[in-house]
């Protein structure tokens, strides 16, 4: 079965005063239909840029994006309209991603109105149905975003994204701005929706415990590139890249009796501006040598477990 979404050597560079920012650099990966791919990495590593480029909110610099085998960068206007319906996005900040002057029902209705193929009656019914699906009380229909708490706002954002029955949703840190008790409600909702509507998610987050909970596959990103890709259980059981290991060890744990051994990274993060060849993690990596600074290759070291590190086998005694 072909993947629902696939990229081949995808690149997105931004111009800046100091040179080209390599936000997404040569990324090849795929997302199977009905799955959730978790994308983790630290702020500024290009997670959001990758998500936005994937659904063509950013024009890509180079490479291919395939949606159901069709190259998204080569769609004509009519095909693009169809594509826009099939892909949606849920944003991080439920405070700034909703129009403060629209009521809840206006916000959810808008995509339906813009689509143009629904009658007034259908729009009303569908809006009611959507509010029900995401669990917003009917009485809040005429409320404005500022009257809602963060969790309800995020539900409105989700209802809006679902309006036109998308196939693929990019969730960009959808629970990062929420309190833990509310975060759990939204994560459960997203998982229920996926099961009921057959959705495919790219789930972007910096929170390892959230990504572990929701994903099938996990991609770890560092400075514009994937450094490790594998099944979620595999990643947590056998992290192979030195960066992934440090990332996992840094998570504060609530188990006060079994503390993890911390790997504290030293050194500075390399600039994403004209980064040059070689491993981008080399400046902070305790195992890096001259070879790593020259070039780095990707290898499948365990079945389905790809790691971009010259020394993966050596470090992990494989």
């Amino acid at each position: 079965m072909a993947a629902l979404v696939e990229t081949q050597n995808l690149k997105k560079y931004f111009k800046s005063g100091a040179g080209m920012v390599h936000a997404v650099d040569d990324i090849t990966f795929k997302i199977e239909e009905g799955e959730t791919v978790g994308l983790v990495g630290e702020s500024g590593c290009g997670k959001s840029t990758l998500g936005r480029t994937l659904i063509h909110l950013n024009e890509s610099t180079d490479g291919k994006i395939l949606f159901r085998g069709q190259d998204v960068t080569k769609l004509n206007k009519k095909e693009m309209v169809k594509f826009r319906k099939d892909v949606q996005m849920i944003f991080q900040d439920p405070y700034s991603s909703l129009d403060p002057r629209q009521t809840v029902s206006d916000i959810i209705m808008e995509p339906l109105k813009l689509d143009g193929s629904f009658s007034q009656e259908e729009i009303k019914n569908r809006t009611r149905e959507l509010m029900d699906t995401v669990g917003i009380e009917k009485r809040l229909r005429m409320s404005y975003p500022h009257e809602l708490d963060g969790g309800r706002r995020q539900r409105v954002g989700i209802a809006r994204a679902l309006a036109l029955n998308p196939k693929f949703i990019v969730c960009d840190e959808p629970v990062s701005a929420l309190d833990v008790s509310i975060q759990a409600q939204i994560l459960n909702l997203l998982m229920d929706l996926q099961r009921d509507l057959g959705l495919t998610y790219l789930f972007i987050t910096h929170d390892m415990s959230v990504v572990k909970h929701i994903s099938n596959q996990i991609c770890v990103m560092y400075l514009g590139q994937m450094v490790e890709v594998c099944d979620r259980k595999e990643l947590f059981a056998y992290p192979l890249h030195p960066y992934t290991k440090a990332l996992l060890s840094a998570i504060p744990t609530t188990d006060i009796h079994n503390r993890r051994e911390r790997i504290i990274l030293k050194g500075e993060i390399k600039s994403p501006i004209n980064p040059g060849p070689g491993c981008r993690f080399a400046s902070r990596c305790p195992y890096a040598d001259e070879g790593c600074r020259q070039g780095v290759k990707s290898q499948e070291v365990r079945p389905g477990h790809v790691v971009v590190c010259n020394k993966a086998k050596e470090i992990n005694q494989l």
């Binding site: 759990a184 998982m191 504060p252 006060i256 990274l265």
Partner: protein
């Protein structure tokens, strides 16, 4: 109450109200806390629980325009902070008690070099020359891992984690006895967070600074605190030692917080969120604030006052059922 005043730092019956339009917001309700010198207390709660209001009351930096009233006692080394005049407060702030704010991006002055910002604060409190203050500032920067060669740079030239380290250096320059850290690592990435937490722990051990760490992250608390107070709707609903709270969480809200966290070490199909939302802060109630969301609530909860119950010495829980279960 005379007994408690002998202690290093304490808050007794602190109640803070804000006014908002026509209503009164009960932000902090009858909060009492105590801290010994060198101790670290984690103040845990969700958005709007009143954590930051408590910290700001301690330094008397609440926004005057919106505060309706501040009642209770806050004492520090035998002195009443709420009775201090401006001059006394000036001497207290930044010297004896200092604060690390959540957002390192906005806590620093963008048009001054980092070294001058630290030196400025130091000179306020220590009678010393500019050169001495500068020397101290550079020492502080080095202590938090920023080389002297970067001292003359401006905040925008630093990354988020580095900026937070500058803020920590600034807060610690006068060797305060008490540090209020309001979500000091929330804006940072995990690997950087680990570095900053390590730094805070090191400095605390080296300098013996007492600390109140305000956070919503139970993992962060577990890393650095000796004592924990869980706050809900402006009230402390459970407090005790780290072991009390993490090994024997008792209040249904505390248990709910632990249950809502995705667990890295276990595989759980569904998370168990705490259903519902925090109560309306403009209404003050006699009965339990958590009742509407509590899975164990019954008709009796409405009749009982929500007093604290002592489970084991020092482990207090605001739930009348605490002793009945288990």
């Amino acid at each position: 109450m005379a007994k408690t005043r002998e202690n290093f730092f304490g808050i007794r019956h602190l109640t803070v109200k804000y006014h908002s339009g026509n209503s009164i917001i009960h932000a902090v309700n009858d909060v009492s806390l105590e801290l010994k010198a060198g101790e670290t207390l984690g103040l845990v709660g969700e958005t709007g629980a009143g954590k930051t209001t408590i910290a700001k009351s301690i330094l008397r930096i609440l926004p005057e325009s919106s505060v309706e009233s501040v009642e209770g006692d806050i004492w520090f080394e035998g002195r009443q902070i709420l009775d201090m005049n401006d001059k006394e407060l000036q001497a207290l702030r930044g010297k004896s008690i200092s604060m690390i704010f959540q957002d390192p991006m906005t806590a620093l002055n963008p048009v001054k070099t980092v070294v001058s910002q630290i030196a400025e604060g130091y000179r306020q409190h220590q009678n010393c020359s500019k050169a001495e203050a500068n020397k101290r500032a550079i020492e502080m920067l080095e202590m938090v891992g920023i080389g002297a060669d970067r001292a003359e740079e401006y905040p925008h030239q630093f990354s988020g984690g580095m900026k937070q380290r500058v803020v920590i250096a600034l807060a610690l320059a006068c060797s305060p006895q008490l540090l209020l850290a309001d979500e000091p690592t929330t804006a940072l990435d995990v690997t950087i967070q680990a570095q900053v937490l390590d730094l805070i722990r090191d400095l605390r051990n080296k300098l013996g600074t007492a600390m109140i760490l305000i956070t919503h992250d139970l993992g962060v608390v577990a890393e650095v605190c000796d004592k924990v107070a869980v706050i809900y709707a402006g009230r402390i609903i459970e407090q005790g030692t780290l072991q009390d709270i993490y090994d024997h969480p008792t209040h249904p809200y505390t248990c709910g917080l632990f249950g809502a966290l995705p667990d890295l070490d276990k595989d759980v199909e569904r998370l168990s969120p705490i259903e519902g939302l925090p109560p309306d802060p403009s209404v003050i109630r006699e009965h339990c604030d958590f009742m509407e969301r509590c899975p164990y609530a019954c008709g009796k909860c409405k009749k009982f006052n929500n007093h604290m119950i002592e489970m084991t010495p020092g482990h207090m829980v605001r739930c009348w059922k605490a002793n009945e279960e288990e």
